[in-house]
């Protein structure tokens, strides 16, 4: 390989060559002049005899070139010059692609981190979460122990539970979220500590035996200022001393997607942390994840059979607590109940983003085709001067690739910035919810691939055009004036592109409509003017016995605040982030009270007497509770209308009827309340019961609802002062209920937002597409239009001639897109709440949107067509 030194000698070689050739022609000229020719004639003859000097020079240089790379570099430089000459085209093309590739990179980033590799642990492919086939993953601790000890398919099983504690490290105690895990959690996941050590199976020696806390890297950074001496320090967790033993590595964020744990505690210390413990209650399913690596060589199906075997044994041994449930395996990360919708949603987004890219390619393809036909004269000249068609195609291809790479780079840049924002975004203060989308190498690779593929896609559009060019015809006749009535490639591309865009616009409108409907449906509560106060008496060391009395004092203190209308207390407010409780209910006649015979698994709310007024839930029948519905009174319950209809026959005669709970207690229904939404706004109507706080186990952790039309800030201050006068150390979170509701609206909002963004992108793409087409067709036919005007055509006729075709194509494309979009929204309806394609408003909206897009996009070309001055045009030619 001797091209390396040649590169440095290159310019000398080129200079020598040019000089030599110049001297050659000079010598020939002089000789011809010596034979009696005029200088001009001699010069011409000499050049003819020499042949095509440029070509000779190029070929001579080619001898020395590092062949492909060098000529590609040449192409690139030429392409850059060409693109600089038409900045409008270049910018439009790059922006279009940047948007399309950016959207795809973002969606891929989300897909990549949520679906493809949700948990950042080694050997993630053999890590499974044990789900029930009903998609929920909740399990009780005793069941977990049995599963762990009796199954043979897993190396080891770990379990974890979400937990919120007050952490006191000497300054003001802060309420933070984290995991209570089985002590083998880190061993199962094979996580090495970043600092100190992590707790392990051998730390677990019975109840409250492991007062250790492990901090997450981000919490250690933000709240302990990355202090390396933190290991060994004793902090107070809900007033109990725990030793910080280590910090997890930064890349590990737990096995529960969307939830960034701040700490990890051994679950055996649950009794200390919470003041009571669920570790002995087989019926209390508090564990949100049980997970482990499959043994090498064990197939998932075998493991499921193994789990079902153990499950059948548990059902036989504990029929009251265990229903017949079949197991399934899920991927760690997305919790079972979330996994399916998230996966479906992200897949739908991927498809839509792919459509965007296709539309962008179609758009650029027609732009390039238009450009190639504008340049057909140049192409013809180059062909006539001896350039090969291959060379010209390579040139066009180079331009396309340059644009696609520039667009890809811009899109990638934007999307990485956006993903980083998303990654650090905490939509809710106080809850470590986040969308874990750290951009990685895969994203760069995908963006590069997309750029290259789309570049190739739209650069092949004008190929046929170039191959067909007949240089002689073009040079002789000027622009080929085949004023096409024929269907060209460009028309097809435009229709395809508009159809795709219409699909996007339709789906985003359907999604947005669905959201609007969801937001305006009746949730069975009236959150306006209500302040939520979250407290946890267990965090301040109260034991069971004195909780109820304190709660009553708190309610009375709040009611005494001027301007407060109602005060309610409840275990969890509906649609709150705290989750919900559910309970098995049986018909009064059922005597075999195993869970399999339950009439329903109803939402269960534990409330104070005035809760209904505070929450704004309407009482339809019967009465609400009083403080006299206490332990000595007969057990009473309120039910919602769905419960009454489903289990008691009907709402109107439900009052006075009874239902049973798992321990056999008969509970009298004393009232019926309106239906509502409890866990998420998208759920189907569920049965719910409301029980008096006076007849239940004390809550400790509870929410107070304060209804008042006074200024929220003042109320918040008064609430704080009043509750702190009861207990100065009580941890309080005060916020507006509407703000809290954002939490349950979050998924639907995010879904609609992303679909809306894609819809807007689709609309923008169709504008540029139609605009390009219309502008091109006007500029092509300016002369014809000029003649028409000169011959007396009216404005309407001119417009018809100029824009009829693009508008017809727009109509065809929109109709096709609308149809496809309606088909597509059937799929969408599974994801977006209340998304229905059979909505006249959506249909009208899409049609209107497409018409508006058409008007916007053809406005400027239409103005240009109308402004045609025949005199100027005809004089020019």
């Amino acid at each position: 390989m001797n091209w390396i030194p040649n590169i440095f000698r290159r310019s000398k070689i080129h200079d020598d060559l040019s000089e030599e050739m110049r001297l050659h022609i000079e010598e020939r000229t002089e000789q011809l002049m010596g034979e009696g020719m005029s200088p001009e004639e001699a010069g011409r003859q000499a050049r003819v005899a020499f042949g095509n000097r440029t070509l000779v020079e190029e070929r001579s240089r080619a001898v020395w070139m590092w062949p492909t790379v060098e000529s590609i570099w040449g192409d690139v430089r030429l392409a850059l010059r060409q693109l600089r000459r038409s900045p409008g085209f270049t910018v439009a093309a790059i922006v279009t692609l940047a948007l399309a590739i950016g959207a795809n990179a973002v969606v891929f980033g989300v897909l990549n981190s949520l679906v493809l590799r949700p948990v950042n642990v080694s050997h993630a492919d053999s890590l499974y979460v044990i789900n029930h086939r009903t998609d929920d993953s909740w399990e009780s601790y005793p069941n977990y122990l049995d599963l762990r000890d009796r199954t043979r398919s897993f190396d080891e099983l770990a379990a974890m539970e979400l937990s919120q504690v007050a952490l006191d490290s000497g300054k003001e105690p802060s309420r933070i979220w984290g995991f209570e895990t089985s002590a083998n959690y880190f061993e199962v996941l094979n996580i090495r500590p970043y600092l100190g050590r992590l707790f392990q199976a051998s730390d677990e020696r019975g109840v409250n035996s492991a007062p250790y806390i492990v901090l997450s890297y981000s919490y250690w950074q933000s709240h302990f200022q990355a202090d390396r001496n933190v290991v060994g320090r004793v902090v107070r967790v809900n007033k109990h001393p725990f030793t910080i033993i280590g910090v997890t590595p930064p890349e590990f964020r737990g096995t529960f997607t969307f939830f960034n744990a701040n700490f990890y505690l051994p679950i055996v210390n649950q009794d200390q942390v919470r003041g009571d413990s669920e570790l002995n209650k087989r019926g209390s399913r508090g564990l949100i994840q049980v997970l482990g690596h499959l043994k090498a060589g064990v197939a998932p199906a075998q493991a499921i059979a193994d789990l079902d075997r153990v499950g059948a044994g548990l059902e036989k041994a504990y029929p009251k607590e265990n229903t017949h449930e079949e197991f399934a395996l899920g991927r760690a990360g997305l919790p079972g109940i979330l996994g399916r919708p998230v996966r479906a949603f992200v897949s739908a987004l991927t498809i839509l983003a792919g459509l965007i890219l296709l539309a962008a390619c179609a758009n650029l393809g027609s732009l390039f085709a238009a450009r190639a036909s504008d340049r057909s004269r140049e192409v013809a000249l180059r062909l006539a001067l001896g350039s090969s068609r291959k060379r010209i195609l390579r040139q066009l291809m180079t331009e396309a690739l340059l644009i696609s790479l520039a667009g890809g780079a811009a899109g990638l840049f934007g999307s990485v910035a956006l993903l980083r924002r998303l990654d650090t975004w905490q939509p809710f203060s106080g809850v470590p919810i986040h969308v874990p989308v750290r951009p990685d190498a895969n994203i760069y690779l995908v963006a590069l691939l997309l750029a290259l593929v789309s570049g190739l896609l739209f650069s092949i559009v004008p190929v046929r055009q170039v191959l067909r060019t007949n240089p002689y015809e073009v040079v002789k006749a000027g622009m080929s004036q085949r004023a096409g009535r024929r269907l060209t490639m460009r028309d097809i591309l435009l229709v395809a592109q508009i159809a795709i865009c219409a699909v996007l616009v339709t789906s985003s409108m359907v999604a947005v409509r669905g959201l609007v409907r969801a937001l305006h449906s009746n949730f069975g509560i009236e959150p306006n003017n209500v302040m939520l106060v979250e407290t946890d008496l267990k965090m301040t060391g109260y034991r069971q016995e004195n909780i109820l009395a304190t709660e009553r004092r708190m309610i009375e203190a709040l009611e005494a605040i001027p301007g407060v209308e109602h005060v309610g207390l409840v275990n969890f407010p509906p649609l709150g982030r705290g989750g919900s409780w559910k309970t098995n209910v049986f018909r009064d006649g059922t005597s075999d009270l195993r869970s399999a015979n339950a009439a329903a698994n109803a939402f269960m709310y534990v409330m104070s007497p005035d809760y209904l007024h505070a929450a704004g839930t309407t009482l339809l029948e019967g009465r609400t509770f009083t403080w006299r519905d206490d332990g000595s009174a007969p057990p009473a319950a309120l039910v919602n209308r769905a419960f009454a209809a489903q289990i008691l026959g009907s709402a109107s005669n439900a009052v006075g009827k009874y239902y049973k709970v798992a321990d056999g207690t008969r509970i009298e229904v004393v009232g019926v309340v309106e239906d509502g939404k409890y866990l998420s706004v998208t759920e189907a109507q569920q049965p719910a019961v409301f029980l008096p706080v006076t007849q239940q186990e004390p809550l400790g952790e509870q929410w107070m609802l304060v209804r008042s039309s006074r200024d929220p800030e003042q109320i918040a201050a008064a609430v704080r002062a009043s509750l702190h006068s009861i207990d100065a150390g009580m941890p309080l979170d005060i916020l507006l209920w509407n703000r809290e509701l954002d939490f349950s609206m979050f998924p639907a909002r995010m879904a609609s937002l992303s679909l809306g963004v894609l819809g807007v992108m689709g609309a923008m793409l169709s504008i540029t597409g139609i605009f390009g087409m219309a502008a091109y067709s006007v500029s092509k036919r300016l002369r014809e239009l000029g003649i028409r005007v000169a011959l007396g055509a009216k404005r309407k006729e001119v417009l018809q001639a100029a824009l009829g075709r693009p508008l017809r194509l727009l109509a065809i494309g929109s109709a096709a897109g609308l149809l496809l979009g309606l088909l597509a929204t059937r799929v969408l309806a599974y994801i977006v709440y209340q998304a229905t394609p059979r909505d006249p408003l959506v249909l009208a909206g899409v049609v209107l949107a497409m018409v508006l897009l058409g008007l916007v996009a053809t406005w400027i070309p239409a103005q240009r067509a109308l402004a045609v001055d025949p005199m100027i045009l005809l004089r020019e030619e």
Binding site: L17, L23, F50, G51, R53, R61, A62, V63
Partner: protein, 116 residues
């Protein structure tokens, strides 16, 4: 001017003629063209420019070397000289070319060839 349409030379033919000319005496590009046209009795109408890519190939293969100088007519010229490698290459080429030519002649005109 030309009776017949010019025919492309086969690959390597021009190089061979250049090397042969240079073996007789070093020359610059213009002189080489003149020489080849004269020696072929103007039967070979070589486009003058096509000489240069060929010369570059020979330079790259180190079969000739070039030097700027001044000619007898006091012109600035770049004179080419054949190298030892060039001579070896030329001899190989000539012998293989002669065999090829003989073969072609036999196929085209068997009688005449056997008469020889």
């Amino acid at each position: 001017m030309r009776e017949t349409t010019p025919r492309d030379l086969f690959p390597g033919a021009l190089e061979m003629m250049i090397l042969e000319s240079l073996r007789r005496q070093p020359a610059h590009g213009y002189a080489l063209v003149q020489h080849i046209q004269q020696r072929s009795n103007n039967l070979l109408q070589v486009e003058e420019g096509s000489l240069y890519p060929a010369l570059q190939r020979l330079l790259k293969a180190k079969q000739v070397k070039a030097e700027w100088g001044v000619s007898s007519t006091n012109r600035k010229v770049r004179t080419y000289q054949i190298t030892a490698a060039g001579v070896r290459h030329l001899e190989q080429q000539i012998s293989s070319f002669e065999r090829m030519f003989e073969g072609i002649a036999l196929v085209l005109n068997p009688k005449k060839a056997t008469a020889n």
